[in-house]
Assembly symmetry: C2
Homo-oligomer: 219 residues x 2
């Protein structure tokens, strides 16, 4: 049975690979996202290769094998179903569920997970708007645009918020930047690195480009 650490590495590698739309994931992104030193990532990745979860080319990066991808998907499913449970059933706030789910995902059994899935009515998306992989490991991929890619005058719908940072999630919620919201881009100020938005009929406000990149939308 793989350790929580193994599960975390595989989940994280999978997520980077999904986000970047590339099969090969460089070591730097792995050590950054797992908050370990580069040396730790290197030695861990070598073990993961020995155990058949991925293949590793020195100074190139890693590629998940079929079993590595499968396990990664499974952990992602756990994570997103748990987040859904925490919000839908227990009423926790959107901004505080990530760390909770991060812990629980490693100890919930397959059996309990499937019961939970039934109990929740087999949701397809988690509270952030991210798709939940199926039991079979299939994930629906939206090639999402971020708010940053949108031009002045466009009106778009939020698909998901692509960040786990608490303060950012609180900010997003406060401004009604939640999946499903319709937003109009009033203006883009390339020099100021900010854009002015209007959510529904609320007062307009501004958001920096860095933050805008975290908000994924569909036209």
């Amino acid at each position: 049975m793989p350790s929580p650490t193994v599960e975390n590495y595989l989940k994280q590698i999978l997520m980077i690979s999904l986000e970047s739309h590339k099969r090969e994931v460089p070591m730097g992104l792995i050590s950054d996202s797992l908050k370990v030193t580069p040396g730790t990532a290197t030695s861990m990745v070598k073990n993961l290769e020995k155990e058949g979860w991925l293949s590793y080319k020195s100074r190139k990066g890693v590629k998940l094998t079929a079993s590595g991808r499968k396990l990664g998907m499974n952990i992602l499913r756990r994570h997103r179903l748990l987040e859904t449970f925490l919000v839908e059933t227990l009423g926790l706030d959107w901004s505080e569920i990530h760390d909770e789910a991060e812990e629980l995902e490693h100890s919930i059994s397959e059996k309990v997970l499937e019961r939970l899935d039934d109990f929740l009515g087999r949701p397809r998306h988690d509270p952030h708007g991210h798709p939940i992989p199926t039991k079979g490991g299939i994930i629906q991929i939206h090639k999402n645009r971020s708010l940053l890619d949108c031009k002045e005058g466009m009106t778009v719908t939020i698909e998901s918020i692509d960040d786990q940072e608490k303060n950012f999630l609180k900010f997003a919620r406060a401004k009604h930047l939640v999946p499903g919201s319709k937003i109009k881009i009033l203006s883009r100020e390339e020099v100021a690195n900010a854009m002015e938005l209007k959510v529904g009929k609320r007062n307009p406000f501004s958001i920096g480009f860095q933050a805008a990149a975290k908000i994924l939308v569909s036209a």
Copy 2:
């Protein structure tokens, strides 16, 4: 933050102490219940002492300190609330919840636990009939008699089943030996090491003394 291992040692020591009605717990029971070698228990217990969770006297045993008892109670609370959730909400079987809860109890946060408690309606007993410690670490102690202590002709009510072994729990459930059931002791056969029981209006059946000792009752 204490590791899962530390939490398990403290929970187990607390449970032994509650069951035996003694403050001092011998090393042998600790290593047995945690399924580690005696040497492992000795070295672990020394660390626990260094960290202030308990006091240890060589070849005598251990006593929990106030903080050790508090943490132990907290883990016991987690365990029993989780078992309740697994049965009540997700509909798992009585006989399969122990190991699940054993895993989850170390990763659920205080916050989620209290939400769960609310969601479940602040239950006082878990599905086995064991009392759930309060948030403040108070546990209601029944000085339970076991079925083994009962005489021929008595009618008693089941309080709890004092075993986690799957097959035994399945057997108990099949025979309606569940908390709340009323049982009449039809006969005791000291020589055969068995007693004949009648649960409600069902057909009588026999149960060995060893099994009878695991069924705690009140008159």
